[in-house]
Every structure is written in C-alpha cells, then in structure tokens.
C-alpha cells in the first residue's frame, strides 16, 4: 500500500473517534456521536485532526470506517419497513426461536420480539430437501401474485429465506428476479447469499437483520461519501467488518449485517498489531470500558474468528436473550463488567456485580451526581487505585466519602467494612472476567499459561494485572493510544472477505475433485470482493473447513494450508481433525465416521506490517512522584504504592510494584507481584517479578 495519509473513524455509542495517521505520526480526536446524522461528528473530527496535523482533507488518501450504527439499529429497532418471504409452513421461524426460555426460573419471562411482526412475513409454496433436491417446484405465478398483494404495503426491503436454500438457491433467485420486476427499487436480501449456512432460525434471522438495516446503512454510507467529498475528502472509503478485515463501501451496503460489531473488531485488530510488534503468538486482548468488557484470543497475531454470535441481548447479557447472527466474526466474549457496573448483595449474601450499569449519569457514587449504589469505580477509588483529585485529567473530582458510604451499606449484611466490601466487589468483578476468559480459552482448546495480555479501554489498566494474577498470565502490555484503539485498529486491518458454504461430505465418501472445485469457487468469490477494494495487492487465501464426527452438532474449525486445499485427501483431513479434537476434549472417538459441514475461504491482503520495536535502552528507575496506600488483593492487605506519571516515563524506565502509573485517561495498577518497564513505543510492559 502506497498510502501515507489515512484516517480511521470509529462511531461508538458515546464517542466518535477519529485518528489521522501520516506516516508514523498519529493525530486523534474524540467527538460526541451525533445520532441524527452520524456523518456530522465524522466531519467535525476530521477537521480537528486535519488542523492538528496541518493538512487539508483533500490530502487524505484513504478512510477506513467502522461503526456501531448497524448494531444500534438492531438493538433499538430503527430499521426499514421490511418483509420476509419464506417457505410455506415456516412463517414463524424467527418468532418461535428455539422454543425455550433463556432464564428457566423467571415465571414472568418475556422473550424479545422478532425483528418483523407476523403480518410482514409471507409464504410461498415450494420446498427443497436436505440433499438440495426440489420436492415442490416454485410457481412463478405464485410469486407474481404475492408481489401484487404486498405492493400496497410499501416495503422498502425484503428478505428471502427458504428452507435448505444454503444447498440450493434456485428458488430464492427466482423470487428475487420476479420481485425485481414487480417491485423495482425495493432492496432484496437472500439467505443463500447473506448467510448460506444450515439451521433455519439463525440463517433467516441473519437475512432479516441484513434486510432490516440495509436501507438505513445504504443511505448513511451514500450521504457520508457525499459529505466527505464536499469537505474535500473525495478519497476511497472502506468499511471495517465484523470479521476483522475491510471491505468496499458497495459490499458493505449490500451486506450491512457484516458491519455489526465492527468497532470491537477494530480493537482486536489493534491488539493483534501490537502482538505483531512484540512478536507474540499467544495474546489475550482485554478491553474494558464503562459498561462492558470484551475478551478475545489472538493466536499467531490473528484474532480468533467464529461463524455465529448474538446481538442485542435483552436480559442481563444472558446467552439466548438476543438474536443470533451467523456471519464470519471475530470471536469475542462480552460481559457486563465495566467501571459503571453496579453491585448488590443477594439472598445468599454473595456480592454480585453487573450487568446493570450506572452509565455516565448518574454514574458511580463517587461522581457525586446522585449515584446511590456502589459501582466498580467506587471500589477502585476506595482501594486506592484512583486519585480522587486527578481523575480524567482532573476534570471530575471524585468523592471518596460517597464511595465509602455506599460500600459500607453494601458490606453491612456481610460484616464487612467499606474497604473489605470494596475488595470483595473488585474480586467478584475480576473473577467474573477471569472466568469468562478461562471458559473462552478452554472452549478453544487453549491454556492461558504462556499468554500475554494486551489491555486497552478506560477501565482495563485498573483491573488487567489482577486478571493476569488470576489467570496465571505472566506478561501484560498496556499500549499507548488505548483510548482510540479501535480506530487505530481499522488502519491496521487488511482487505478481506470470507465466503462460506454448507455442503455435507463424509470422509468415507470424500471426493477430492469436488472439494477442490468447491474451495476454488469460494476462493474466486472471496477474492472478487477483495479486488473491488484493491486491484493490485497480492491476495492470500485462508482455507478452513468445519468438521465433526458424523452425528455431532458442533463443528471444529480446521485450517488447511494452500497445498492441502489444492491436493485434498481424506487421510490428511482426518489427521488434522483428530489432533484438534484430542486437544479440545481429551480423546478421540474410535470407529466414527467424520464429516465436513461448512467450507470457508477467507481472501485477504497482507495485514499492515507491524512497526518493529526499537531497542529498549538500559534500564533505569522511573521518577517516583509520591506514595499512596493501595489495597493488594493477592495479599489481602494495603501496601504503600509508588506514584508515577506515565508522561514522565521514557523508554527503559522501570517501575517496581506496588505502583500506580497515572495518565489523563486512566491509571495502570502494578501490583506487588509485578514490575514494569516503558518500551520505546510508549507501551508499559508489566511482568511478574522474578524471585
């Protein structure tokens, strides 16, 4: 890539972050998100960073954009008037969900409403079987009649999802062609294109979600392009997708559901780039903000990906209370744990924290804005992690008394004083996050020993070192720019697109030619998308097959080398699968046939080369500004911690724990068990003390 002036833009729920990068120099701005016209905040931020850098918008050569707008439209139900056309007999698939209750003990449980009400779901007589054969042929006249019926409804967007269409898309294509004639201008999304995977609920829901946000996103992206051009930035614009790569504006407008979770994906790419800079192959990224924490495994400098995730959870972040979206996605665990998460004592006299959050208004009790319940930030303050007079660069004075008061109330039924209650609260929230990380690692067959944590987001540096202690992680990196990590991540992402297909094949009926053809077909499709972004750059294909023992329901992703994909043979596939299965579950199952269910090819340009880390000069002690009492949870006692200003640290400066390294945005806690060193790129590198 020859570009040297690039801009990354991340629209988040509260802030729109803009980062301008000119060669190695970064200029960033945080602007409040402008919901009515999100492009306004971008223009504002662009002018700010251009002014800082002393350039004109016309000099920007490329803009990479990620946004929560798609996610928010799904959460807030602000999508277009949308219809679903499906197979006769299956009108209610997206409403009936899994026919189960995600919380079994709540007698007054309410299930989330489907994206489309029942009267906007229509059926046609047709049927394909589980082998992809047509059982009941679709009659064009039926489609025409349905089109005539719904013309008066005024739909802006139509989703088409038919049973087994991932195996045979003929009927979906026929319906599209017929509708295009009768309802010109209506946007159409096919399940066989949006998410060609088995399991009708997930596939239909993903297709409906795509259709639902398509008019909104298409119009937004069009306006954004126009506004930027008006302001002089007529350069190409690309979009970050949930899988951690970037796609063209046109692809994004066709498949806007792929933009869901693009912001957090940028954070993972940011961490992956730091991992590359430090030559680390096993990294756990940890992003903790005001309401949630996100955890992601990054192996060989590539974030782990998955095929399905859940958005818009409606019930205490509980699994199953949202809607499933099956698209390639960076596999992240999100938990309701942030600085604003509120604590209470339950009937078992256990401290519980989150997912309920105080948000920024009223915020934690210590903000002095009327918060009356203890939040994680109150505990952090009481334990000495935060300086009440220097929070957020001194812009908010924290009220220690208020924290103490609410924590005393929390601790009363447990016979705990404010400090012990704060300790309990912090331990519970840290344990919740550590548990999520542990489970995620185990589900991916990973042992966290030997991993390095990379922490970013406002609250992460306060809790990261304790998580490392709990998880047995030896090394923690806190990079600079952590407040705008996602936007920086966008600038590091490659162009990429993953094409997937559900085709069942048992290894006992393995057909090398079919496999070769299928993989090369997927490669052509995925490469095509990438070529619309970049006509020149070399493109690498990554091949993945999802395998299981025949009869199981959960597949293991197996990566293939280019050679294995070009010359596929059953024995190799079996050996790869069995090795991974044994890692995950301890033993293989003898005498079982193995099958492949999903095939995926990710076409990608090379990720931005990580800037090599220079030599760290000889170690010298960093300047200590003073001391403060800090509660050390591992020891269970208060210790005397050194106070250090991050801005005063230069490469090679060391800080021995217990210590607090403060900066405007946050404070890095270095517990007694660790010591830190500043690296040439400004990263604080924290490791376990050697004894």
């Amino acid at each position: 890539m020859q570009n040297h002036i690039r801009m990354g833009v991340d629209i988040g729920g509260t802030f729109t972050d803009v980062v301008l990068e000119i060669d190695k120099n970064q200029y960033s701005a945080k602007v409040l998100t402008t919901y009515a016209a999100p492009e306004d905040a971008i223009i504002d931020g662009m002018h700010q960073v251009c002014a800082k850098a002393g350039i004109a918008p016309v000099q920007i050569q490329q803009i990479i954009h990620g946004t929560t707008l798609a996610t928010n439209a799904l959460i807030e139900r602000r999508g277009a008037k949308t219809a679903l056309i499906t197979t006769e007999g299956f009108r209610d698939v997206i409403e009936m969900r899994t026919e189960s209750r995600f919380e079994q003990y709540d007698l007054n449980l309410q299930l989330p409403e489907p994206l489309l009400p029942r009267q906007h779901r229509f059926t046609l007589k047709e049927r394909v079987d589980a082998q992809g054969n047509v059982l009941v042929a679709l009659d064009r006249a039926d489609v025409a009649a349905l089109a005539d019926q719904i013309v008066s409804y005024g739909f802006e967007s139509i989703a088409i999802g038919l049973i087994h269409a991932y195996l045979n898309d003929g009927h979906e294509q026929m319906i599209r062609d017929a509708l295009a004639e009768k309802l010109p201008g209506v946007m159409i999304s096919l399940s066989s294109e949006v998410s060609p995977q088995m399991r009708e609920y997930e596939r239909f829901n993903t297709t409906v979600a795509n259709a639902y946000i398509k008019p909104l996103m298409k119009s937004y992206l069009g306006r954004l392009e126009g506004r930027l051009a008006d302001e002089g930035a007529a350069c190409p614009i690309f979009l970050m997708h949930s899988g951690g790569g970037i796609i063209s504006l046109e692809s994004a407008a066709d498949f806007p559901v792929r933009l869901v979770e693009s912001g957090p994906a940028g954070g993972a790419v940011f961490a992956a780039n730091i991992a590359a800079r430090y030559g680390l192959n096993k990294v756990l990224s940890f992003d903790m903000g005001g309401t949630t924490a996100k955890i992601c495994l990054i192996k060989n400098q590539t974030p782990k990906t998955a095929r399905v995730f859940e958005v818009a959870r409606t019930y205490r972040f509980k699994k199953g209370s949202g809607m499933p979206i099956s698209i390639p996605v960076i596999d992240m665990v999100e938990i309701g744990a942030g600085g604003g998460s509120l604590a209470h004592v339950d009937a078992m006299r256990q401290i519980r924290v989150g997912p309920e959050s105080a948000g920024s208004e009223p915020g934690p009790a210590c903000y002095g804005r009327g918060g009356e319940r203890p939040a994680v930030t109150d505990a952090d303050l009481t334990l000495g992690k935060l300086d009440p007079d220097n929070f957020a660069g001194g812009s908010i004075k924290l009220d220690s008394e208020a924290s103490s008061k609410v924590l005393t109330t929390l601790g009363a039924p447990l016979d705990m004083d404010a400090q012990t209650a704060a300790f309990g609260l912090a331990e519970v929230v840290d344990e919740n996050m550590a548990n999520a990380a542990r489970v995620h690692a185990v589900e991916n067959g990973e042992d966290l020993a030997g991993y390095t944590m990379i922490a970013f987001g406002g609250a992460a540096p306060l809790h990261a070192a304790r998580l490392c202690e709990k998880l047995g992680i030896d090394r923690l990196l806190v990079p600079t720019g952590a407040g705008v990590g996602s936007a920086i991540g966008f600038l590091r992402a490659p162009f990429s697109f993953e094409a997937t297909r559900s085709v069942y094949m048992k290894l006992s009926d393995f057909e090398p030619q079919t496999v070769q053809d299928l993989l090369s077909e997927l490669e052509t499709e995925a490469t095509g998308f990438v070529r619309t972004c970049d006509t020149q750059a070399p493109i690498r294909a990554e091949y993945k097959v999802y395998m299981r023992y025949t009869g199981q329901g959960w597949e293991i992703p197996i990566s293939l080398t280019a050679a294995q994909a070009a010359q596929p043979d059953a024995a190799t596939f079996q050996a790869l699968f069995e090795a991974d299965y044994a890692t995950l579950f301890g033993r293989t199952v003898a005498g079982m046939d193995i099958e492949i269910t999903v095939w995926a090819v990710n076409a990608t340009t090379e990720a931005a080369k990580a800037e090599m880390l220079g030599e760290t000069p000889a170690e010298k002690a960093g300047a200590i500004e003073g001391k403060r009492a800090l509660f050390d949870p591992a020891a269970g006692v208060a210790v005397d911690a050194s106070l250090v200003l991050r801005n005063n640290l230069t490469s090679g400066d060391t800080v021995v724990g217990p210590a607090l390294i403060t900066e405007d945005e946050t404070t890095i806690v270095v517990p007694s068990s660790r010591s830190a060193i500043a690296r040439p790129d400004g990263t604080i590198d924290i490791t376990e003390k050697r004894t």
Binding site: K81, G89, F90, R91, D92, V93, E95, M96, T98, E99, S100, R101, Y105, D106, L107, N108, L109, Q110, L111, P117, R118, Q119, H120, R127, D129, A130, Y153, F155, H164, M198, R199, E200, Y201, D346, A347, M348, R349, Q350, M416, G424, E427, V428, E431, N435, R438, V439, V442, E443, K470, T550, G551, Q552, G553, F585, G586, R587, V589, G591, M592, G636
Partner: protein, 561 residues
Amino acid sequence: MSNVAYQVMWNRLISIVEEQAQALVRTAFSTSVREAGDLSAGVYNAEGLMLAQAVTGTPGHVNAMADAVAHFIRRIGRENINEGDVYITNDPWEGTGHLHDVTVVSPSFHKGNHVGFFACTAHVVDIGGRGFGADAASVYEEGLYIPIMKFVDRGTVDETLIRIVRGNVREPDQLVGDMYALATCNEIGHRRLVEMMDEFALSDLEGIGDFILENSRRATLERIAALPRETATGAMRIDGFATPIDLKVKLTIEVDRMHCDFAGTSGLDKKGINVPLVYTKAYACYALKCAIAPEIPNNAASLAPFEVSAPVDSIVNAVHPAPVALRHVIGHMIPDTVYDALDKILPATVPAEGAGCLCNFQVSLRPAPGKSGQRSEVLTFNSGGAGARPTVDGLNATAFPSGVMTMPIEATEHTGPVIIWRKELRPDSGGAGEHRGGLGQYMEVGATEGHEFDFSAMFDRVDHPARGRQGGQDGAPTTIVRDDGTMMQGKGKQHVPEGRRVMLAFPGGAGYGDAASRDPEMVKRDLARGYISAEAARNTYGLSAETVDAVLAAVAKGKTE
C-alpha cells in the same frame, strides 16, 4: 480462608459446571443433547452432596441428579472408588427417571485424595427395546438396562459393556459416542476443579462446601419463613394413555419446609407414562423454586427444604418394574398441579395452566415394502403454548416447565429420510383472557419417497386442555390426524404408510382473567398479527365489526401496530 475468597470460589464452581455442560453439548451425538439441551451437569463433595449445578439443562434432572451420586457411592462402595474411574447407569429410579437418560459419575482426585464427584446426565435418542414411546407393559421392554457399574476402571474402558450396548440399540454409534461425551464432560470439570484447588491451596472441598450449603440453606429458609403457614390442595385431570389420570396434591407450608403430598393421585397406568418419585420431586420442587426462590442456585441445601411424598404405586411414585419411558408426559404436568394449590395461598403469583408436557414424537423410518432406502430414528422436541401470567400473556410455543430447545428442522432432516412440512404458530389456540395464553403450534410430518414410518406419539391435552385461571378461558386442545382423515391417538406407536403425513396441532396455554377486561389495543395487535382470527376478536373479545375491518385494512396497507 476469607469470605471474599469463598465468594470467588463459589462463582468459580458455577462457572466450572457450566463449562462441563457446554462440553457435553459440543461432544454429544444425540440431537436431544446437542440441539435440544436435554442434559444436566453438577459437582459434588466427597460425601455426595451437590454443590453446584449448571444452568444449562432441564429442570427434570434437578433433584434426580442431586440424589443420584449417593446411589452411586452406595452401589460402587467407597472402597472401590479409584482415580481414573468413571461410573454409569440408566436406572430410572437411581438415575433420572427413564432408561433413556444415561447418567455418568466420575470421582475427582486431587493429590491422591478423593475430593468430590462430577456427574452429568443426557437423554439419548435410542436405548433399544421397543423404542422411545409409551407402549411397553414393563420397564423390561423399554430397552437396555445398565445397572450402576464401572464404565472406566482406573483408566481402562470396559469393552464388554461397550459390546453389550452396541448389540442392543438401534443407533450404537450415537449411544457409545454419547457415553464418551458424558465421560469427557466430567473430565473437563475435574481439570478445572483441580486448577481451582491449586490456586487456593485447598486439599479438600469441605470449607467451600460448607460455605455454599450454609448460605443456600439460610437464604431458602428465609424465603419459606416469609410465606403464610397454610395448607391448600390442587388437582388436575389429564388424558393418560387409555383412561384419564387425576393428579392431586396437598401443599403444606411450614416454617422451615414446603411439603407436597400426592396422596389421592391415580394409580399406575398399564403403559409407559408412569413416573418414578425422583422425577416427581424434580418438577414439584422446580415449580416451588420458580415461585418463591428463583435466583437461589440449585444445590443439596437449597433443594432440601422442598419435600415430596406420594403413595407407592401411584402414577407419580412408580416402582420397578413399572414402564416409565414417557414419565415426562405426566411429570411435566406436575408444576401446573402444584400451582393449582399454591395459587390458593399466594394469589397473583403463578401462571394459568399451559401445554405442560413437551409435544414430542419419535419417527422410526424404514424403506416401504419393496423399496430400498434408509432406516432411521428421528426424535423431535416441540412445545405448545405456556399459560398466561397474572400481568402478561403466556409465551407462544415455548416449553414450560421443561428447559429444552427444539431442533432446527434442517438439522432434523439431515438425520434421516423425514420431511417436516410445517412448523408454525397455531392462531386462536391461546386461551382468551385479560392476559392471553401462549399459542400452540402446527406441525406436519412425512417421509421422503420410498419410505414409511411408525409414529410414536407422546402428547397430552387431547381431551383435557389447559384450564384458565381467574376467569381466563381454556387453551385449545391437542389434535392429531392423518392427512387422509384417518384418526390417530395422542399416545402410542402408530403406522403411517408411504405417501401419508401426520397433521398435528399442539395445545395452547390457558388465559388469565376475564377476556372482556383485555386491553383493546392488545386485541387489535393480536388480530393484526394473526394470533387471533377476526371471529375471535369479535365474539370472544367483543371488538366491533368496524374495528376488526379497520385493523385488517390497516394490515393490508402495511401499517405496523
């Protein structure tokens, strides 16, 4: 050990058993486990008391699982418990109620000492015998019986057991695969437990166990003590196999316990719908916990104050060798029976009656005479409507009290030559009321060309639909018929020739309160969505003909509610 450390460890144990359950979902072969989540998993102290149970899973296993480990300790003998062992059973009375539930228990050793157990249970699709259905006259016909025994002895798998299992069931790969999956999931729980014990330098689970049990016991007792000390009776009549069954309960609330006595309930049925007491206990206890202590996690102490008794040889306390394969059909009706009593003590707390038992069926497919094709066993789990609640409508096509999920029909059709032609909501099936009962659903089932099948029905509420509460109306009953008009039975195995389909309408939940009091906006919404017909809107809810026409006209113009 500090209180804070114990809090952390309790959290950790709950996370560990959840991980154990997830491992089972991922490695299991039976669709009932991997797609529907018909399973449970838990961790126990060395005494055999349950300390934590995964929330993934189904209530039917709650107490049964809690009791099972004690049976294993007694049968295996403490002196024979060694590191590397794995035990197994599908005993309906010492496991979880029928031969189709396989329970696996693994002792946990840490630094050479026996510190606890992991146990898990899964519903397998086939266990031999007559196949999953109500038709057996005794448990001997219902399939292979595996007494409590060692599946793995000090690391060595009992190959004889595997051969016997393989030789006795229709889907041997699936079942043996599931046995391994159950052992694997315990193993994963064990690994995490050992890590925790190392981290906190524990040599046993006594301290943390006492902490969990003491806090849980106290919290549960506080809830019970706050209730009125009263006694009330509840009753419900349901279809049964050939003759109706009366479920009767007397609920007594004392200062430190709640007792359900099922005296007066019908006697044993000749067919396999009888219920071992463990399963009755599970659902009676589940119903009470939902109503009075929903957030207290399940463990030996939080379950102990809920007591259940029933006369031996009543249908809710069937003893060996009564047939019990479909114990869930009656078992799932127990919460509604208990709620009939509880409503008299705690008004405006519990829902109206719902569909109750899951609307399950199993299809045994084979090539039609003279044709070639595939043999296959296909089990599906489906739900009718749930009962309306005191302040909100019942849930449409959602399981209650069971906690299982339905299977995607695309996944079902990959398991055999079956075609599900229809699976969608059933309008007008929710009982009318101020709050409407949840809708049931329609299904249509056939086979691919060249195949015929036996349809094993496991439905209730054909003759006894869900009853409304506080003036709410009854839900719609179950109906089952062949597409050529041939009548079919709600229970039992019935042959369906090539080319024919089974047409099913699953029951709706009952309504709560007077239909005339329903918010007219909700009636209009229901009409617009097609949850109710124009006729019901007019006749049952009293919407004027003009309003009905206006709502339907608005729908045709694409107006959203």
